[in-house]
Symmetry: C2
Subunit: 108 residues, 2 copies
DNA sequence: TGCCGGTACTACGTGATACCGAGTACCACT
DNA sequence: AGTGGTACTCGGTATCACGTAGTACCGGCA
């Protein structure tokens, strides 16, 4: 699949929120998860910038824990604001995708 | 619906391509069409920048015609490159939306 | 001991895109 | 003359994903 980066704008952050929401996890694992889900070209640097943004915006709770196989990990979990943001993301996604699909079907 | 601008990145251009592909039309009308389709906050300036970009990238054929109710209109039609780009857009959209929906359904 | 690969995060800069505002201009109606 | 709707252009801004370089911890292998 060729370049999706522009289309991912605004949605990738939501995907990361969803992943964090389903399980407390950390940056490196989130990247691998996204790659496995079909977001093959998403790179670590991208995920880390998103995580730092989430932290800066107060949407996540962060816990640092030693790893055993490398440097310590920063585990992320959603707080109330994060869950709210996630709900908003899905609402926006549903709104947008329904409009686009309607347009695709000959747009009335 | 609150702000969709980030999510529209990469998709709005495809929507404009689809509209042009279904009928030769011009900027002002495209904006109204998008607004009617549910992209309520899309503004004329945005559509015009997309149209200039399409023209610069050689995806459209442009014809200027007098209007009768205002300044002359620039009518846009897809050329072969534009149709190809449109097909690529829909392929990318389908790919992306299927991944996102899978993630939403508990992501396996 | 020294080197490599995998793990894990940070920081800075780039490019693409939608948005915003101001400006220009044509036309009809009052 | 003034207003409102039509129609396009141009310059600047913010945001986001991405690229790259750098730091650092660890195990295994020569």
């Amino acid at each position: 699949m060729d370049d999706l980066t522009e289309m991912l704008k605004g949605t990738l952050e939501g995907c990361v929120l969803e992943i964090i929401g389903s399980e407390e996890t950390y940056g490196y694992a989130i990247t691998r998860r996204l790659n496995g889900l079909g977001f093959a070209d998403v790179i670590e640097g991208t995920v880390y910038t998103i995580l730092l943004r989430l932290e800066r915006n107060g949407l996540v709770q962060v816990t640092k824990r030693p790893s055993g196989v490398g440097p310590p990990r920063k585990f992320y979990a959603l707080n109330d604001a994060g869950r709210e943001e996630l709900a908003k993301f899905w609402a926006k996604w549903q709104y947008l995708s329904s409009r686009i699909d309607r347009l695709k079907e000959g747009g009335r």
